[in-house]
Symmetry: C2
Subunit: 452 residues, 2 copies
């Protein structure tokens, strides 16, 4: 089994695999699943295939393989496949999984099914999984796994080493966690230190006690920031009383960053980050219809504003031609500011202290670019329509709309966040509505007032 296919290899393998599927070449497909592709790669092929091919491929996997592949699939597909299985089958399929993968998957199931699965589990596993289920998926508690190795501060490295030889070691083990007799977290013991210090040193002498435990209630984005800032490979998770609950490993943090990145990009287009690129037509259409509908409403709001000036437009048709220019310039300027603010809030660079300064800064930027482009657009208007007054009006409208745009773009994210609305999702719609309305209103309004 090749351990690290790069994209070209993977595409190549997938092409062969799909060909084998079409030819109904059972043996070759089987060989792919059994030998040539790792579970994570099978998952990738399934994710990048249409539904029909997916179903076909899934059937070729035996229960154990399905169990290995499942955790690598996106939530939507996990749900789909799990919903086809009975509680027994699910248990069979998932018995070799880590407790945290298991917990994540249970959260994908119907409450009825998941409770059945829990009941069927061996008590020890169930207790562990139920413990994890207690924490929301997007918190440190939801990210952590419980396979930690703990030691006491007063023992010697020799004791630790003897202990380690006797038990199996979880992957990504980069450190042991030092706890007191009440399982309170006291420090981190990087295993490298086990190699480089003499066996008779005690854990206390060499443990890092300056690594604080992460509260289980900490939001996953904050967890990611901590990992990024301090280049951690794993971190301890504690409850409010400092009791060690588990550890978070960097591979889960990678997923968090990837997902929040997806969310930022996808939500700008009104899409869910789990949006399945290969979902059937009807399903995708439904997902996207909502966003189209919302934007249609905002478009008609703008249209309604414009229609108030039909009389003016009838007299000076140039107004109809130039209005969209005024509106779009505002939209662009606003979205630039909005994007900067949302990113700055995500990285924690923007806070109450520097917000006011920032808004002032943005207004300055808006004014400068407003003046610049007002000049350019006025010039173009004069050349095009040889009408100085029209040019003056559009110039004024551009400046006003750009100032409004940056002001809205800078303040919206905070306003939305304070009312618990996701700025990445709704920010751009609200912004463009504002810039369209203000753009049409100022340009057509000023024109009606001064040119007629």
């Amino acid at each position: 089994m090749p351990s690290q296919l790069n994209q070209e290899q993977l595409d190549h393998y997938r092409a062969d695999l799909l060909e084998a599927l079409e030819d109904g070449d059972t043996e070759r497909v089987q060989r792919f699943c059994d030998e040539e592709l790792a579970p994570v790669e099978i998952a990738h092929v399934i994710e990048s295939s249409p539904t029909k091919v997916r179903e076909l491929l899934w059937q070729y996997l035996d229960e154990e393989q399905q169990g290995d592949v499942l955790p690598h699939l996106n939530d939507e597909l996990q749900q789909a496949y799990l919903s086809q299985m009975s509680a027994h089958e699910i248990l069979e399929t998932t018995q070799d999984l880590d407790s945290d993968d298991l917990a994540d998957m249970l959260q994908q199931m119907e409450p009825g099914v998941s409770s059945q699965v829990l009941e069927l589990m061996p008590p020890s596993t169930r207790a562990e999984v139920e413990g994890l289920l207690a924490y929301p998926e997007d918190t440190a508690g939801g990210l952590m796994n419980t396979d930690v190795i703990t030691v006491r501060a007063d023992v010697t490295l020799e004791t630790v080493l003897r202990y380690l030889r006797r038990r199996e070691i979880p992957d990504h083990l980069d450190a042991l966690w030092v706890v007191n007799r009440n399982f309170g977290y006291v420090g981190k013991l990087p295993i490298v230190k086990l190699l480089t210090h003499s066996p008779d040193t005690t854990v206390r002498e060499i443990m890092d006690s300056d690594i604080e435990g992460i509260k289980a209630s900490t939001h996953e984005d904050k967890v990611a920031q901590i990992f990024e800032r301090h280049d951690l490979v794993s971190a301890p998770v504690v409850n409010d009383h400092g009791i060690l609950l588990g550890r978070i490993t960097v591979d889960d943090v990678l997923d968090v960053i990837r997902e929040s990145a997806d969310h930022a990009v996808m939500s700008m287009a009104g899409l869910d980050e789990d949006e399945d690129t290969f979902a059937p037509i009807v399903k995708s259409s439904r997902n996207r219809a909502v966003w189209l509908g919302i934007n249609m409403i905002t478009a008609f709001v703008a249209a309604a504003v414009m229609s108030q000036f039909e009389a003016s437009i009838a007299q000076i048709v140039a107004l109809a031609v130039l209005s969209p220019v005024v509106a779009s310039m505002g939209g662009i300027a606003g979205s630039q500011t909005l994007t900067l603010m949302i990113r700055g809030m995500a990285t924690g660079h923007i806070n109450r202290d520097n917000l006011v300064w920032l808004i002032g800064r943005e207004l300055g930027v808006g004014a400068l670019n407003g003046l610049l482009w007002a000049g350019v657009i006025a010039t173009i208007t004069i050349i095009w329509y040889s009408d100085v007054y029209l040019a003056a009006v559009i110039a004024a409208a551009i400046i006003i709309n750009l100032l409004t745009a940056v002001l809205a773009g800078a303040s919206l994210p905070f306003l939305l966040k304070s009312v618990k609305i996701d700025p990445a999702l709704s920010g751009s719609v609200i912004l463009t509505t504002i810039t369209d309305v203000v753009g049409f209103l100022t340009f057509l309004g000023l024109a009606t007032f001064f040119l007629l």
Copy 2:
């Protein structure tokens, strides 16, 4: 020094620090820099402050602190501060840095300065750094650092352990790399295995030989995919002949993912991912003016199309009011498809094999939503203008524009990529230009043909 400040704590500290700066309370500021804040946190405070405060704060740091803080600053600030230093000062400041951080920083300097700095370096370091500078920043070679520990396959673990005790250990050490006598990479030896196997086993018996080395020329995005798929903490980098060059650690991969995420979001607004949220007004204005200019041109292209129908608009002013609705619906539908495609290409889910299927799928989605919203918008038009023919025309225009939009959104990323243009940056502009033009053209064209 608190090792893991979370955002609240950090904001709190920053507030105090800024207060101290304003009060000119030198001692308190000094105490912050020396004891209370880690370099990475000082960097964060500097990044989230206006230029004046930055300068002030930077002066409080002694050379060593400046050296610790520098690598945590964004490229733009690194450049700014490095450009103020002489080659000697730079060397002083950066002498304790890892070779890869040093190489990254040299790439930020004026060629003249960086070559001076290189000359001043001790030969060994210089050779190392020059080796790293040979690789582009966005490849595996550019990501790797050279502080690897290598062992031979035929030695026993005891020998390895004795060797480790004698040398200093790089951070993030999770594995040793097994090489042959020509320094050819043969396998990975997780240090955990050093603990759990008896000292007289040979390296060959327990090394992982199925972890392939990553070619130095591999693009960083592919490196990130490999780390994500296989939950790696570190990976070996090799040249075309399989010679071990260095290793990539997961903390650098975190940065890659974060940056490519930033790039995706920022470039949608025509911003550079390094765009400094706190840069002075003039600087920011310049950065954003370009994008506003490009979008102005596209807006005027659309306006020019519309102006071809001024006669029609003069007769039916409703056309002016409704045109933007047709254009915007196309823009939204197209951007949804565009976003999905760009994401799919980034994750490697979309390739030549399934592209055709996908375009067909998108056309289906476009058709369904086209019919749906054509119906809705036609109805609104009838209610608003009680004109069935106008309604029929706008319905037809909506369907045509939505189909064009998804087709463009699905094919643009590939077309742009094949001519080496970044779809994330230019995709949305080109798309909206298409949807605006097609929207105006079909709606006003059909109206002129059927309604006049």
